[in-house]
């Protein structure tokens, strides 16, 4: 791990404890609560009502991934996933700082969301049919279009993933990565031995110590992990092969459509702002804009916020406090040396495209 934070033993044990706690909470909440129809009063979203009553958004993050979510030396959570939580908090409560970052692991994230331990997940979670079909969850937006990659030691002299025949590969259990790897090696008729360790820092330790020949996960996380190794980064090589599609999304429970809308349109608002060139610095200068698209976005006309059950200043708050989508990217990902690529706006050859706010 980077120097900023290492997971110590106590924390690890408490993470394991938290994990079993989530499961208990899930079991209990499922067995004791009674099914409630969406309340007639309030915003129409049980999740939003709970956040307002609590005064905080509970956002499930990894807390271990540089560039995505990792506390800085002051203990402030930094990264694209962390800022994604802040943007939703700004929309829901008007204050981007009303977020509690709840650490979740690859294995316990879904139970944490299902049991109501968190209001949403923002932790590099791949959007798949199985997860929407079986888990009672849905993906509101994609904040990073990614793919599975491999990180190896330069000393191994490997140039392509197809040369990994017989290799030992470190993978997080319960991830889409382990499925993608199994498929890739089978299709190419080569063999591998998986080493599956739940705790990310133990897993990365196993790779760095040489227990594994390769470390496989989302290429974004590999790139930022490599970067966080400082001078040692030179000894690690990210192989050019990207073996799967991993659209990393924001996840919510399926039973609260209003909440789903709020999370989804938070990201659309940030992309729209980037399309229009509106940033956290210059947003106030747009308040006398005559352009209808901008006036609707900033809550000057059209009651768009009300339609979502929010204040009409919802998007203004997001942009003012967190910034547009590009700003969020430049703050966290650009310093790690990762190019924007397909994550750019559609007008610049990328995939981010904002449906109209009207």
């Amino acid at each position: 791990m980077s120097g900023a934070r290492t997971i110590d033993e106590g924390e690890f044990t408490s993470m394991k404890f938290a994990r079993s706690l989530y499961l208990c909470v899930l079991m209990f909440s499922l067995s004791l609560t009674t099914v409630q129809p969406a309340s007639a009063q309030g915003s129409g979203s049980a999740t939003l009502d709970a956040i307002r009553a609590r005064g905080q958004l509970l956002c499930g993050t990894a807390g271990t991934t540089p560039g995505f979510s990792l506390p800085d030396s002051q203990g402030v959570m930094r990264g694209l996933d962390a800022d994604s939580c802040r943007a939703v908090a700004a929309a829901a409560t008007g204050d981007a700082n009303k977020v509690k970052f709840v650490p979740t692991t690859t294995q316990n994230r879904f139970t944490a969301l299902q049991s109501g331990e968190v209001d949403m997940l923002s932790r590099g979670t791949t959007w798949t049919l199985g997860r929407e079909g079986n888990l009672g969850l849905e993906f509101a937006w994609v904040n990073y279009y990614d793919g599975t990659g491999f990180l190896v030691k330069k000393s191994a002299g490997v140039k392509s993933a197809k040369e990994l025949d017989g290799a030992t590969v470190c993978v997080a259990p319960g991830s889409t990565t382990e499925l993608a790897d199994a498929d890739f090696f089978r299709i190419n008729n080569i063999k591998f031995t998986p080493i599956l360790i739940q705790d990310v820092s133990e897993l990365q330790g196993a790779f760095l110590s040489g227990r594994c020949d390769a470390y496989s996960t989302d290429a974004s996380a590999l790139a930022t992990f490599r970067f966080s190794q400082g001078p040692k980064a030179e000894e690690l090589v990210l192989l050019p092969d990207i073996i799967s599609k991993e659209p990393l999304g924001l996840v919510v429970r399926k039973s609260d459509d209003k909440w789903f809308d709020i999370v989804r349109w938070t990201f659309i608002a940030m992309i729209t702002a980037e399309e229009k060139g509106i940033t956290s610095k210059n947003v106030d200068s747009f308040m006398d804009s005559k352009e209808p698209d901008i006036r609707r976005l900033l809550g000057l006309e059209g009651d768009m916020g009300k339609a979502l059950g929010l204040d009409n200043k919802w998007a203004y708050n997001i942009i003012k406090q967190v910034g547009n989508f590009g700003e969020m990217w430049d703050r966290s990902i650009t310093p790690m040396g990762v190019p924007r690529g397909i994550n750019n706006l559609w007008t610049k050859g990328g995939l981010q495209y904002a449906p109209p706010i009207r």
Partner: protein, 403 residues
């Protein structure tokens, strides 16, 4: 023993008098029955409510339920397995079975090793040798004070520091030790080996029978014939003869470094070994204490009587002290065995794929947490009850038989 009626004439007098149940609240028997029916009824109702409500909630949250996923293709890779496994065609059911087998493997080997080491250490603590008593005492006190999870992470980190495959420590061209584990030559299995194994089993049965015969004769006539020559020829000679008769086939599958890793041969992975080591070192310390207290529970007079008869120290230990100590040892030993088995679930921390690890992955990939947890609970319950049942049987077997 209790329940044995000494004088048949007393039997009728001892049996509780038969009496009719009166349907009246003043009849204690009637009251007892009513209360039990009420309590069982409440428990069933509560379970009914919880299960029904859970199902309603799962449905309201659109979470899939049921055990149909067991028959679905798993797709998850598994590092080590005692039975063949191919993620592309095998099911979650088979993946979970592999997890159970891995748990049983590490627990069974762990229980045997921890028992042997624990017994030796327990005896060592009572030794007259100052150094031995202190060293074993130090081991027991230290190991019991450090959380098992920490010990596992320590052993695992230690094994990571072994050399890379290319620089592995080796014995000739056959055995290699590296951070990929211990690689050993594996016997290429032939039918002749199966027959030899069968001969070994037959030899073992023969040895037991011979031993019993010798003992009977000694009890009857006082003449003790030697056991070992017969046992050796039955246990070693017979299987060897069978194998030689069938052409003495012998070839090895040798591990060889190719590409990234060793190909061929057998492997003891660092994950398995770290878990085994951690469980054995930890549990042996507790077993040592169980053994020590069991030995100390045998009154000193028994030893003194033994030495008065001129018996050898070792003989006193084996023939007089340990058999009596066993009665005190077995119940707490059983709970150590249960602990070891349950502690093996810490495997998830160091990447050994036991049943908890594979069930966790399964419930993650299928989203069926409740089924996954129920599966884990059922597996541990079955293993624990089996161990308890066996140890209770054994306990009754060695218990003082009232004569």
């Amino acid at each position: 023993m209790s329940g044995t009626i000494v004088d048949p004439r007393m039997a009728a007098a001892r049996a509780a008098p038969k009496r009719r149940l009166r349907l009246s609240w003043s009849d204690p028997l009637f009251r007892a029955i009513v209360w039990q029916v009420v309590i069982i009824g409440l428990a069933v109702l509560l379970a009914w409510y919880l299960i029904g409500n859970t199902n309603r909630n799962l449905a309201a949250r659109h979470i899939a339920t049921g055990f149909a996923f067991l028959g679905r293709v798993a797709g998850i890779p598994i590092g080590e397995s005692l039975i063949p496994y191919n993620p592309a065609v095998d099911t979650f059911g088979r993946a979970l079975l592999i997890g159970v087998l891995n748990t049983l493997e590490v627990s069974a080997i762990g229980i045997v090793a921890a028992t042997i080491i624990g017994t030796l250490v327990g005896i060592g603590r009572l030794s007259g040798n100052w150094l031995l008593a202190r060293l074993t005492g130090f081991y027991v006190e230290t190991v019991r004070d450090i959380p098992l999870l920490l010990q596992l992470l320590f052993w695992y980190a230690l094994l990571h520091n072994l050399p890379q495959p290319r620089q592995s420590l080796r014995v000739g061209d056959a055995v290699f030790l590296s951070n990929r584990g211990l690689k050993l030559p594996l016997l290429n299995w032939e039918p002749a080996h199966g027959w030899a194994l069968l001969a070994l089993v037959a030899g073992a049965v023969g040895t037991v029978l011979w031993n019993r015969h010798v003992r009977r004769r000694q009890e009857a006539t006082g003449i003790r014939s030697p056991v070992w020559p017969v046992a050796l020829s039955l246990l070693i000679g017979l299987p060897l003869a069978v194998w030689a008769l069938l052409g003495a086939p012998l070839s090895w599958d040798m591990p060889a470094l190719r590409g990234f890793n060793f190909q061929g041969g057998g492997t003891i992975s660092p994950e398995f070994f770290a878990l085994l080591l951690g469980l054995v070192v930890y549990t042996a310390a507790y077993i040592a204490e169980v053994v020590r207290s069991g030995i100390q529970a045998v009154s000193l007079g028994q030893r003194e009587a033994g030495s008065a008869l001129g018996l050898h120290r070792g003989t006193i230990l084996r023939r007089i002290v340990l058999p009596q100590a066993l009665r005190v040892i077995i119940p707490p030993l059983t709970s150590q065995y249960l602990n070891l088995t349950k502690n093996s679930s810490l495997a998830v921390a160091i990447g050994f794929q036991d049943v908890v690890s594979i069930a966790n992955t399964t419930l993650n990939q299928t989203g069926q947490a409740i089924e996954g947890i129920a599966y884990i609970m059922a597996v541990y319950l079955t293993i624990s009850l089996s161990i308890s049942a066996f140890m209770n049987w054994y306990n009754n077997h060695v218990a003082l038989v009232g004569r």
